[in-house]
């Protein structure tokens, strides 16, 4: 049977991707950011996930104002890096897992999550930056990836509560998949940041610390936090953090925290990163 073993959480800042792609990771500005992911690289190499369900958001790259699905799951064979205005990132194509993805879609829809499915979609930095942070710069990504795109561009995004419940439904779906697979789920985006308006540059370390603590120990209460609290306290784009609740919802109630990292700033944003494992009974 498939087994959901662990989750990783990370910001997906485009400037991090640009720093990797342009060989700037050793520069003074970037060094502290990348040192925070050294543990993750070793860890994921040991864990060898077969499949990662990667929760992210598209930033008006593949979805424009014509089509805005709240939750969209990629069931295709392959996804190419999007051209976000400077040409696509020089990273490998992302290989999907159509069998597991179709199983997830069917299961969660029957579990009352009416998500959208897609076969062809170019994936932007929201998806590829986490892969680069965790796997470095390989010729091919070492695992299959199932993209789960969440709308956080047009207000309102799904509630934290709904995201958390979707995570639980995804877990039930993984648990009922026959093939023997080591599956991870990653939540991306955040942490506190605001990219727009006179309040651009907002960072709220206190909010972020509290979010990390509760995500590990008390996700149920964290999932009740309303949108307005994210907007007000974590910035208009900090609301991306609801996506972390999907990944947390797919985990056991009790988890082991393997790693935590927090750094300000990367460009306009607070970088947050967590690794959680389920403990096999």
């Amino acid at each position: 049977m498939a087994r959901l073993s662990a989750s990783a959480f990370t910001s997906h800042i485009p400037a991090i991707g640009a720093a990797i792609d342009n060989g700037k990771t050793a520069e003074d500005y970037w060094k502290p950011v990348f040192s925070g992911y050294e543990f993750a690289k070793k860890w994921v190499a040991e864990q060898k996930p077969d499949v990662v369900i990667l929760v992210y958001n598209d930033h008006a790259s593949a979805f424009d104002s014509n089509l805005i699905p709240t939750f969209a799951l990629g069931i295709g064979e392959e996804f190419q890096p999007a051209d976000e205005g400077w040409g696509p990132r020089p990273v490998p194509n992302v290989e999907g897992h159509p069998q597991l993805a179709s199983h997830l879609a069917q299961s969660v829809i029957q579990d009352e999550f009416d998500l959208t499915v897609f076969n062809t979609l170019n994936v932007d930095h929201g998806l590829t930056v986490p892969l680069s942070l965790m796997f470095g710069q390989p010729d091919a990504w070492p695992c299959k990836v199932i993209p789960l795109a969440v709308n956080v561009v047009l207000y309102p995004p799904p509630s934290g509560k709904r995201c958390y419940a979707l995570g639980k439904a995804l877990r039930r779906a993984v648990d009922s998949f026959d093939e023997d697979l080591n599956v991870q789920i990653w939540g991306t985006g955040g942490m506190s940041h605001q990219l727009q308006g006179p309040r651009a540059g907002l960072i709220n370390k206190k909010f972020d610390m509290d979010f990390l603590d509760r995500l590990v120990k008390d996700p149920e209460s964290l999932s009740q936090v309303p949108h307005i609290d994210y907007v007000r306290y974590a910035g208009s784009e900090g609301i991306e953090l609801v996506m972390w609740l999907i990944a947390r919802g797919a985990m056991d109630e009790e988890v082991e925290e393997k790693h935590r990292f927090y750094h300000v700033p990367a460009s306009n944003t607070a970088v947050g990163h967590l690794i959680l494992e389920n403990n096999p009974a």
Partner: protein
């Protein structure tokens, strides 16, 4: 019944909600067109003529021409769409963000390196001036 908008008292922030998205539809779709290299070239070689191909309001077109991002957002633009304009100009997200705050690029970078804009004084409209609380 009107949409519930509890975020209207958050200072210095425009939330891209259903009303804004409707208002900004053509502005944002114009931005998306800049994802294609040939459109970027056409835009750069004649901005006004390129904008006139879109059913945008005159105010939206003027806001684009003077690169006033706060004004573009007020007129329904969303930052991830507007990013296509400053990418086309070869400007980073950080530099573009600084232009919205009344800070110079260096002042903005310095604020970020020293921990970012503090939430203190920046959570409610009554705390913050229109120009932003950069102190």
């Amino acid at each position: 019944m009107a949409l519930d908008k509890p975020y209207l008292d958050v200072p210095g922030t425009t939330i891209f909600d259903a009303d804004m998205a409707r208002k900004g539809f053509h502005l944002n779709q114009y931005c998306m067109s800049l994802m294609k290299a040939e459109n970027r070239e056409r835009f750069k070689s004649g901005e006004r003529a390129y904008l006139d191909e879109w059913p945008m309001t005159e105010a939206q077109k003027e806001a684009v021409l003077i690169r006033d991002y706060n004004l573009m957002m007020k007129l329904g633009g969303n930052i991830y769409f507007l990013a296509k304009i400053f990418s086309c100009d070869g400007i980073s997200f950080q530099v573009a963000a600084s232009t919205m705050t009344g800070l110079t690029v260096d002042e903005y970078k310095e604020m970020m390196v020293t921990g970012g804009r503090s939430p203190e004084g920046n959570l409610y409209k009554s705390d913050m001036t229109e120009e932003g609380n950069n102190g």
